[in-house]
């Protein structure tokens, strides 16, 4: 197997203002499965096509935003190797014991210069839900997915200062690549980074406030499901930010919209396949509008100013 080390985004933990309203949004409308509620009130969710126990965690708080974003590694040896790399780089690495979230092994956690808590873990139980993907003569699903039919949690876009330093940490310590970037006369505006064949697993945009979430994205099967997601948004009065449209960067077909706490969500389909031998794609400030919103060819005001 040639993908070693980090495999994929594993867990995103979001802060929400009202748990009941948020669960309705993520379960009924986006279509995630409610896995369970922990003793501390955190709610665990899973996309219908995800094999493991959960991928999205909601925590009730009085401020929206993201607590942490975690990547899953192939084994504990890789986690130990990443810890060494990060410490050698000069970052403080914290330990989170196994079981801090149900079904999840030990995690390491570190804060990057953009102010975000990034975590790595190797172990998570497989889902024991009757709706989990089958492995023997599988149907495409056991029970037809509901709402927007989100297959999986796909990536996030985070906002904060000093993204060049973050890129160095991700590429030098964690073996990420940067298939796509935006360079302006004022410096790097954004980086889209991957640890896999996807065009991006995580992205960062330069922003003065640390620790901000621009959006958490869910993967849909195709463009027609993106249209179906838009139908759901209108029916259930979900506030839409932009789309359906396409990103020039990553080429994904997309809608940006908001959860009931003001966290931006995205539904995302397509996107190109990335291989490590591809040269990086670079956008300049005159074309960034088309890079972000390919059909509108300009940014909307909220893209650079509304984050949680």
């Amino acid at each position: 197997m040639s993908q070693e080390g980090l495999l994929r985004p594993g867990i995103a933990q979001l802060r929400v203002l009202d748990m009941e309203e948020s669960v309705r949004h993520y379960v009924e409308y986006i279509g995630l499965e409610l896995v369970g509620t922990g003793d501390d009130g955190r709610v665990y969710l899973r996309g219908y096509d995800e094999f493991h126990r959960h991928s999205v965690v909601l925590r009730e708080a009085d401020e929206a935003g993201i607590d942490f974003f975690a990547f899953k590694a192939d084994n504990q040896k890789s986690v130990d190797r990443f810890r060494k790399n990060l410490e050698a780089y000069g970052l403080e690495v914290r330990d989170i014991p196994a079981g801090e979230q149900p079904g999840v092994g030990a995690r390491i956690s570190f804060t990057v210069p953009t102010g975000h808590d990034i975590q790595i873990f190797a172990e998570m139980e497989l889902s024991d839900s009757p709706n989990a993907p089958e492995t023997k003569n599988p149907y495409i699903w056991n029970v037809e997915p509901k709402g927007m039919r989100a297959q999986r949690m796909d990536h996030c876009l985070l906002y904060g200062p000093d993204i060049n330093e973050v890129e160095k940490i991700f590429t030098e310590c964690l073996d990420f690549q940067t298939p796509e970037r935006v360079e302006t006369p004022d410096g790097t505006l954004g980086i889209w980074m991957t640890v896999s064949n996807k065009a991006h697993d995580i992205a960062f945009v330069n922003h003065p406030e640390p620790g901000k979430l621009h959006h958490l994205a869910f993967f849909l099967e195709n463009w027609s499901d993106v249209g179906h997601a838009a139908d759901i948004m209108t029916r259930y009065d979900i506030s839409r930010d932009v789309g359906p449209t396409r990103h020039g960067i990553t080429r994904g077909q997309t809608i940006y919209f908001f959860d009931p706490s003001g966290n931006r969500n995205e539904v995302f389909a397509g996107g190109y396949t990335y291989y490590k031998d591809q040269p990086p794609r670079v956008w300049d400030h005159n074309n960034v509008g088309r890079g972000i919103f390919y059909y509108e060819r300009q940014l909307n005001e909220a893209f650079l100013s509304v984050v949680t």
């Binding site: 929206a64 003065p208 406030e209 506030s239 003001g262 909220a302 100013s305 949680t308």
Partner: protein, 118 residues
Amino acid sequence: MADVDAINVFNITVRGSDVVAPCPETERVLIALEQAAPFPKPKPVNVGCRKGGCGACRIRVLSGDYTTIKMSRAHVTEAEEADGYVLACRVFPASDMEIEPAFLTPHERMEMRKAERD
């Protein structure tokens, strides 16, 4: 039995704009403002999540009574709330109101939070 169930409607005026939005006491001020200024009129205040989390619709109430539901503390601190700052999508009128937009750019928000800490 007159009017036990009648819903009061109040006028929301926006300082610096000619928008006057009739807003039932059961409706959130932001929604009334949006309806009073349909496209292509410029929106009197920014609109984002319409759910009290993103801060796009931050306003200051200059006069009038109102009630609020949960708003993200990242955008309206307790001290600011006492000063009349609210998120328009979380506010119900209890009288006529005059408001002004008070959207903070990320830079302004950061400077303000920093000043509060020092």
